[in-house]
Amino acid sequence: MTLVMVVDDDQDLAEMLGIVLTSSGFDVDLVSRGDEALEVFRNNPPDLVLLDVMLPGIDGIEVCRLIRKESMVPIVMLSAKGETQDIVRGLEAGADDYMQKPFKDKAELIARIRTRLRRTNADVTGLLTIGDLVIDVTAHEVRRGTALIQLTRLEFDLLVALAKDPGRVFTRDALLSEVWGYRQTTDTRLVNVHVQRLRSKIEHDAEHPEIVMTVRGVGYKAGGTA
């Protein structure tokens, strides 16, 4: 069974999320305080974390940062605030995706969770090289020389999506549909923040990227395979 940890201070919403997730076949751990989240996480590591932004104790963004320090588990932020800076802050702290309350419907929530748990590039296997990086898709590893680079599952998927088709320019919308599984959205902040995070891990100089290149006004492409 897949375990989903739900961190939300609203008991009723947490319970409701529990009902919905259980009825969709997930195991659920409910946590209502930010400062308890890390302990529960360590005692019983989940496959995915649903994390509210506003929490008593320590806030969701801080919780996200703490979890990210020790795990690459997919994190989906739940935000009641629609303000850009909250979303960007959450993504920068290491969240893979975010959902704004109230959700459109139950199906949307389940779809997002399933996308984050599934491997998106199931068709790609073997080794990919890009720049001086070697990506072992099967083993889910990225190496520069002998050094292993730690990437979250989403960052890995993003890198593979770009690297499997080097030179092709991906629009932000194309990446959203390929990596996040969105059919239609206009929120490109998600892509921008994750590209920044990915660059900070894999580029020699994140200010002058050589692997994930920006194509002005269009999107991104994987740079030199040489």
Partner: protein, 522 residues
């Protein structure tokens, strides 16, 4: 010329200096010419008096010499006379040389001997006829100013002084002494030039002084203007320096007091706005979380409706629908309060507006009951790329389209896109029930509805057009409405192609081209 006019209009210094110079020019001109004429008169009369005195003595001397020599022979007398003429004419130095002319008065007893002579380089014809007549008639000394013609061709302004001279046994003669005025006019020229130079120097000095003085006054004014400008641009901490106790200082003090009070007001308002912002954000959070629970609960119930009795099943449908509506209303209200708190932010990206419109139109067509396409998109261009907040533009388009479809009464809705280099116009035209004058005025008002009794078929919140207008204005664009009862309505969104630039024209007019006024009013 243009430059001067500009400087006059915009620079206090130039204005003051120019008017000072013009006024002083008048004063210097008046005093200068008065001074010059006084001096000239004085010099002329002094030299006239001395010339006349000298002449009187010379004439007396001449008569005496001739009288004394009356016993001598003609040749000797002539020699004495010649010597006298020479000595008299050479009395002056250089320019001061006088010329002496001895003429026989015509028409009196002809004599065989002529004592006519002159210092020889001046033409006798130089003597004015009028003076000769006066000399012949009067026994007293006479004078006149005239030009003396010299034998070498030179002409010099001169004073002619003449008197009758009796030479015993010989008859009447006239003696003239010609004083050159060359020296005098040189003096007068010198005076004139000195006055001119002094006058010009004075004018320059006055301009310089004026400039210095005006600058003293203008510099603090300029400084004040600079500070006020910075204040206007939002630097509310700017204050004027108070260094003295003059009028400038009292201006500075009053200004600073005003600035202080404005700064306080602004920070109070900013505080209120922050409170409002936080309130909005709190309301969002507080309302959204229970709404999420409600929606999920309602969905779980709704999914089980087949097992309910029909009344409960219908209730669950109503519950789900009303929760949808509640959510839309909440989102719209929050958007409105963001506009009111001026915290709405533009997030512009580059996109093709035509494909956006087509996508929206397709969504509506899919949702429509008839299935036949109700929305037509017309444009000369295949794609129009603009830089704008795509989320907001899409929201405006969806609002305008859903509005048009609600009121189209089943007739087609036409979307026209016209782009210029700097603007894009998007017109949404329907041929349905239309709007009258009073409705046009209120159409962008919050919660206003064209016909309150109408079914809310598409479940609008009543805030759509008001939000659309704010969205358009956030881009520096405009949203215009046109309508006639029974002839439909036309909403035109005009956006700058680069969000934030201003729009200079409306590529599409609000009055649609298929509307002919004369036909309507017949």
């Amino acid at each position: 010329m243009k430059g001067i006019r500009y400087a006059l209009k915009h620079s206090l210094v130039t204005k003051v200096i120019l008017s000072t110079v013009f006024l002083s020019l008048g004063v210097v001109w008046l005093t200068g010419s008065a001074l010059y004429s006084r001096l000239a008169d004085g010099i002329r009369s002094t030299s006239l008096n001395s010339s006349l005195a000298e002449s009187r003595y010379t004439f007396f001397n001449a008569e005496y010499q001739m009288l004394a020599s009356s016993q001598l022979k003609v040749e000797d007398r002539k020699r004495i006379l010649a010597e006298f003429v020479v000595s008299t004419s050479t009395q002056g130095i250089n320019e001061e040389r006088r010329e002496v002319i001895f003429l026989k008065t015509p028409g009196v007893k002809p004599s065989t001997v002529s004592y006519e002579m002159s210092s020889n380089i001046i033409k006798n014809s130089s003597i004015p006829e009028d003076l000769r007549k006066r000399v012949q008639k009067n026994s007293k000394l006479q004078y006149a100013y005239a030009a003396a013609k010299y034998n070498d061709g030179g002409i010099v302004d001169s004073l002619f002084v003449g008197q009758k001279i009796k030479i015993p046994d010989v008859g009447r003669y006239e003696m003239y002494i010609v004083f050159s005025l060359k020296n005098q006019s040189t003096t007068l020229d010198l005076i004139f030039n000195s006055l001119l130079v002094t006058g010009i120097a004075l004018l320059l000095l006055i301009s310089l002084i004026t400039w210095l003085v005006v600058r003293q006054v203008v510099r603090p004014v300029r400084e004040a203007a600079r500070i006020a400008t910075q204040f206007t641009q939002g630097d509310y901490s700017q204050r004027m320096k108070v260094v003295s106790t003059d009028e400038m200082a009292s201006l500075a003090n009053s200004y600073n007091e005003m600035a202080h009070s404005i700064e306080q007001q602004i920070s109070r308002l900013e505080h209120l706005s922050r409170v409002q912002q936080r309130f909005v954000s709190d309301v969002t959070h507080e309302l959204r979380t229970p709404l999420t629970t409600l929606r999920m609960a309602s969905e779980v119930i709704h999914n089980q409706r087949q097992s309910f009795d029909p009344l409960v099943a219908r209730s669950s449908e109503l519950l789900a629908a009303q929760l949808d509506r509640f959510e839309r209303l909440l989102e719209d209200l929050l958007e409105v309060s963001r506009f009111d708190a001026e915290v709405a932010v533009l997030e512009p990206v580059e996109f093709d507006v035509i494909s956006l419109i087509k996508r929206c139109a397709k969504d509506f067509d899919i949702a429509s009951d008839s299935g036949a396409p109700e929305i037509q998109v017309r444009s000369d261009q295949v794609a129009v790329s603009i830089r704008a907040d795509i989320r907001r533009v899409e929201r405006v388009m969806r609002n305008l389209l859903s509005n048009a479809l609600d009121h189209s009464e089943g007739k087609e809705v036409v979307v026209t896109v016209v782009a210029t280099d700097s603007e894009v116009g998007i017109g949404v035209r329907d041929y349905g029930s239309g709007l009258d004058e009073s409705a046009l005025i209120r159409v962008f008002d919050r919660f206003w509805r064209a016909d309150p009794s109408r079914a809310r078929s598409r479940g609008g919140t009543g805030l759509g057009l008001s939000i659309s207008l704010e969205d358009a204005r956030l881009h520096n664009g405009e949203l215009d409405a046109w309508g006639r009862p029974g002839l439909g309505a036309h909403f035109v969104l005009t956006l700058p192609r680069n969000a934030g630039s201003s729009i200079n024209a409306r590529p599409i007019k609000a009055t649609p081209i298929d509307f002919h006024q004369e036909i309507f009013y017949q």
